[in-house]
Structure formats: structure tokens, C-alpha cells
Amino acid sequence: MTAQLDILYFAWVRERIGKDGESIAHPGAEVSVAELIALLAARGEGYAQAFAQPERLRAALDQHFVPLDALLGSGRELALFPPVTGG
């Protein structure tokens, strides 16, 4: 059985990609968030737009904020989104 990675999208990342999230085959523990973003960017027009400027993205792995150079490790849920604007 291949491990899955659930990916979630929020705010304009979600809008550009056109979906809330998706499950993919886990790309491997040694893959970084930034590397996965580069892989996802090749999936089509909406992805390319969402991920055109990776420096504008933020990430949470298993519901903890991580920098983009963090490795996926055994993480099961990765969220990608713009900087937060609550409060």
C-alpha cells in the first residue's frame, strides 16, 4: 500500500487551482514542501498560477506551520495558502 498525502488549499491558492484539496501518492519523506510545490505547479494552468511565486506561499504540515524548505517526512496532511490575515 502506497502512503497518501492529503493536500489542502486555502484562499487564492484554492481559487486558482479550483479545488479545496486532493490526495496524491506521498512523494517521499525526503521531498521538501518547496519541491512538492514545484511538482504541483506542472499539473496545469490553475496550479501554475497558484504556485507562480512560491515566496508568496505558506505551508502547514499536519496542522503545524512549517517553512517551505521543511521535508515532508511522514506527514500526512499538507496545507498550502497565502500568508494569513485574521484578527
Binding site: L8, F10, A60, Q63, A79, V84, G86, G87
Partner: protein
């Protein structure tokens, strides 16, 4: 044991009953901050999205950080999501302590961190039909970072 109450949802809230809970904890000092949707610039409505599986846990971490820094008897955080209009409340942070400095500083700390480190995103809709995601402000990060 101290009171910690975190609520994330669409419903409005009553600052009075939240303050009453904090006033009843036996401390001498209660501080609060309420954030409200500002009108102007043709703003018609705001939509607040969030990351449901993470939001409350992340706010709880921020509250724990505040508790580690100040002797707090109680913390109440309410953050609304969904569609909000000018004049409506967005967020409430209330703190109780035996010391006024602790209550006031923790209240400011909590709202500064909520703004920059909790998974909420605002989209503004204007009278002319534009709808834009609010951009995070470097100034808010700087305000947060002064807490060191």
C-alpha cells in the same frame, strides 16, 4: 487552573457575557480587545475563511504562549468566520489577571499573534463588484515580532 475558552464559528458573540466571565475569576484586572469590520472604501462585505482542522489548535498554542509569559487567570478568544459586514464584530480577546500589566500585555500579545499566526484569510467585496483577498502586512509581522 485557569479559564481558557476558544471559539471559532459564524455566530456573533456578546462581549458583555464574556467580560462577565473574566470579571468573575477573582483577579483585579480584565482587559479586552474587540475587532470590528471597518466600512469605508466601498466595502460591502468580508468573508473569513479558515483551516478548520487547525484553527482552534493553533489558537490554543498562542494562548499557551501567553500563559507562559504572564500569570493569567483566564483567556477568552472568539474568532468569527464566514460572511461579515461593516460594523460587525470579527474577533474578541479577553484576559483576566491579578495584575493590570499582565492582562493588558497578554491581550495585545494575543491579538498580535492571532493576526499573523492563526490560519484565517479575509476576502473583501466592494460596491463596484471587486472582490480581493486581503494582503498580509509586513507591519503586522513586525508588531508581533516585538514580543521577541
Amino acid at each position: 487552573m485557569s479559564l481558557v475558552s476558544i471559539t471559532v464559528g459564524e455566530a456573533d458573540f456578546d462581549p458583555a457575557s464574556l467580560l462577565a466571565q473574566l470579571e468573575g475569576l477573582g483577579g483585579g484586572a480584565v482587559a479586552s480587545f474587540t475587532g470590528i469590520v471597518r466600512g469605508g472604501d466601498g466595502l460591502v462585505a468580508m468573508r473569513l475563511d479558515h483551516y478548520p482542522a487547525m484553527t482552534e489548535a493553533q489558537i490554543a498554542r498562542i494562548v499557551e504562549d501567553a500563559q507562559a509569559r504572564w500569570p493569567l487567570l483566564g483567556v477568552i478568544v472568539v474568532h468569527r468566520v464566514g460572511e461579515l459586514h461593516p460594523g460587525e464584530r470579527i474577533v474578541f480577546v479577553g484576559t483576566a489577571s491579578a495584575h493590570r500589566g499582565a492582562a493588558l500585555e497578554a491581550c495585545a500579545f494575543l491579538i498580535d499573534w492571532l493576526k499573523t499566526s492563526a490560519p484565517f484569510w479575509k476576502k473583501e467585496r466592494f460596491a463596484d463588484g471587486r472582490a480581493t483577498w486581503v494582503e498580509a502586512r509586513a507591519e503586522d509581522d513586525a508588531t508581533r515580532d516585538r514580543w521577541g
